[in-house]
Each structure stands twice: as C-alpha cells, then as structure tokens.
C-alpha cells in the first residue's frame, strides 16, 4: 500500500468524522437520528473503490470505539457497541465495500488510483447521466439496503422489538437516505470526471 493510499484513507475518515459532527437531526418515534455519516459512507465507496472505502470505515469505527467522540451527538467508546444502534455503525463497513464494488462493477470504470497516470480509464461511451444512475444505485444498495439489513436485525436482537415494527420504524429514514445517495452520486460523478482531465 502506498503512502498516498494511507493519506487518502485518513483524509476520508476525517471527512466522515467532520460530517458526523454536524448536529444530528433527531426523528420522532425512531431511535436513530438522521445524520450525514451515511453520506460519507456512500462517497467513500464511490470515490475510493471497495478496498480503501472499507479501510476508511474500519478506521472510523475503530476510532469511535477507542473513545473519541466522533459519532453524531458526541457519543463514543465501547458503550456504543452495547447500544441498540451498533448494527448501523458496523454495517457501514460492508456497506462502503459493497458501494465501491458495485460502482466499479456497474460503470466499468476504475476507482481513483493513487497513481495519477491511469486516469484515462473508463467512461468512454457512457453519458454522465448513466454514470450518475449507476453510482446512485450502488450507493442505495451498499449505503442503504445493506446497512439496514445489518442494523435492523441488531436492533431487534438488542431490544427484543418486533421485527415488522422495527422495519416500519426505519421507513422514516428512507427518503432522507435516498436523497443522500443521489447527491453522493452526482458529487462522485463530478469528482471522477474532473479527475480524468
């Protein structure tokens, strides 16, 4: 792994932490506040590709568990793992990997390389609208579906809440997360395009 990769991973982790320090928006009736972290998860996957995005999220979770208040609302430490929303936190790691993998797979473009000579790759015939649609799909599957698929069963397990009720409670977040996926896709597409020039 090159120095550039380590620096990129550290910078993206810092970026997600910075996004998480924006005060979360508490939602009525649902035990998970709406935050910008998942936006960071999607962006990391789309821009860095699966391997580095996974490492970014791994680093993020490690720093949170070590006791630095980097999670929304200034929470931190091992207490988070004991809480009912830990599944959503841990789910972000595979979420970012899947987002990155799907984005690469769907658009057949190479993720941003540490080595700047490879920027000629990809996006030869596809219009940018298609590219955005592919990115958005990747962000929804990885950053939304997968994170929920891990977070909801965890919530059910810890709180012994009814599974169907837990699912219904999460519906409130879907519009916000879809919007985040779309914005992440547009931003990622612009960054990728600019980087190729």
């Amino acid at each position: 792994m090159k120095t550039k990769d380590i620096v990129l991973i550290a910078l993206f982790t810092a970026l997600i932490i910075a996004l998480g320090l924006v005060p979360p928006i508490p939602m009525p009736l649902v035990p998970v506040p709406l935050t910008l972290q998942t936006f960071g998860v999607m962006l990391a996957g789309l821009i860095l590709g699966p391997a580095r995005a996974g490492l970014v999220l791994l680093l993020y979770v490690t720093i949170a568990l070590l006791g630095l208040p980097v999670l929304p609302g200034g929470r931190a430490g091992l207490a988070v793992l004991a809480g009912p929303t830990a599944g959503f936190l841990l789910g972000m790691i595979p979420g970012a990997v899947v987002t990155g993998w799907l984005a690469t797979f769907l658009s057949r473009t190479e993720p941003l390389k540490a080595d700047s000579s490879s920027h000629h790759a990809g996006m030869t015939s596809q219009t940018s609208a298609w590219q955005i649609a592919h990115y958005a799909l990747a962000a929804v599957v990885g950053g939304l579906v997968l994170v929920y698929a891990i977070g909801i069963p965890w919530l059910v397990l810890v709180t012994k809440m009814d599974f169907a009720k837990a699912c219904w409670a999460m519906v409130v977040f879907v519009p916000g997360d879809l919007l985040k996926a779309l914005v992440a896709a547009v931003v990622a597409q612009r960054i990728r395009r600019l980087n190729m020039v």
Binding site: T3, V7, A18, G77, L81, K165
Partner: protein, 197 residues
C-alpha cells in the same frame, strides 16, 4: 479540537491493564445478554454504578454521555411496554443501562495510547501473516485525528468564499470543492511523508 473520553486519575480502575478491562467488558457484556432475572440485573447495574463512582466520574460527565441515550431508551421502553409488557421493558432498559455504563467506565479509565496498544497487540497475528502493518495503522489514526480540525477550517473557507460571491450553500456546491481540495491535499501530504521517508 475534540477530546477523548478519558478522565485522568489514579484509581485502581485506572491502574488495571487495559487488555484485562477490555476482556472483562467483552465477557461481561455477552453474559449479561442471557441474564433474565431482574434481581441479578439490578445487582449488576448497582455494581457498575459503583465502579463509575470509583472511576471518579462526576454526575455531569456521565450525564453528558447518557443524554443522547435517554430519549432513545424512553422511546424503546414505550415500544416494548406496548408490545411485550412492563416487566420486559424494565428488564431491557436495565440491561442496556448496565452495558452502556460498564463500557463508559472502561473508556473513562483507559487513555487513548493504552487502547491503541491493545489494538496493535490484537493486530499482531495479522502482522505476522503479513496482512497488516501496525505502523501504518498507527500513522492512519494519527493523521486522521490531526486532519479533522483542518477539514473544519477548509469547510469554513469554502463557505466564506461562496457567501462573498452571493452563492447560497447547497450540498452540491459544498461537496464538490470540499472533496477536490481534500484529494489535492492528499497528494501534498503523501509527497511530504515520502520526502521524509
């Protein structure tokens, strides 16, 4: 700058080795998931509350960490009273509170460097296999912590530049320059690190 949860002190809880505390926490938390008797849970909760006292935490510091959790417990408690009955709800709340407080005690009595040492030790088998390089992990954590305030400054700069031009900030107009600058900065930092070896 964000601070860690660590409370400087020299109680017997502070003096225990970090690895032992983490191991006790892991085993204890798992065991607690299978405890259903209310009296046993009460004993566990009382013990943990006592150790919070022993760790020398003030009520205010504990409250600061618990505050985001209180309304969450309230909502979850309400939901499980409704779906499972009062006793089940009380049991769940008591268990969650115990787990979170126990983890808080460990975070408050263990400095970040000690936690990092445990992480590095846990990584050791992987390092032997050649999968990870503990030094690079440490570099990543250090860089991330250093870069969080930098990104805050960067956000402020972009905001001000756009306001000066009469632009209303939106996720797109903020996201793209934020990421571009971040990627460019990654180049610079990587070069600087490589130049120093």
């Amino acid at each position: 700058m964000i601070g860690s949860l660590y409370l400087p002190g020299n109680t017997w809880l502070h003096r225990l080795p970090a690895g032992l505390k983490l191991a006790v926490l892991a085993v204890g938390s798992t065991a607690l998931m299978w405890v259903h008797s209310p009296s046993l849970l009460l004993v566990a909760c009382a013990l943990v509350c006592l150790s919070v006292r022993w760790a020398g935490a003030s009520l205010q510091q504990v409250w600061q960490q618990l505050r985001p959790l209180v309304w969450l417990l309230f909502v979850l408690g309400g939901l499980s009273v409704w779906s499972q009955g009062l006793w089940q709800a009380l049991e769940m709340i008591l268990r969650l509170l115990t787990l979170v407080l126990a983890a808080l005690v460990v975070s408050m009595t263990t400095p970040l460097t000690k936690m990092m040492q445990v992480v590095v030790r846990l990584l050791w088998p992987f390092q032997r296999l050649g999968w990870v390089d503990a030094d690079k992990v440490a570099l990543g954590v250090g860089l991330t912590l250093r870069l969080i305030p930098e990104l805050g400054v960067q956000w402020q700069e972009i905001r001000e530049a756009q306001l000066a031009r009469g632009l209303m900030p939106s996720p797109l107009t903020m996201g793209v320059p934020m990421l571009l600058r971040t990627l460019r900065r990654a180049d610079e930092i990587a070069e600087a690190i490589d130049a120093r070896g």
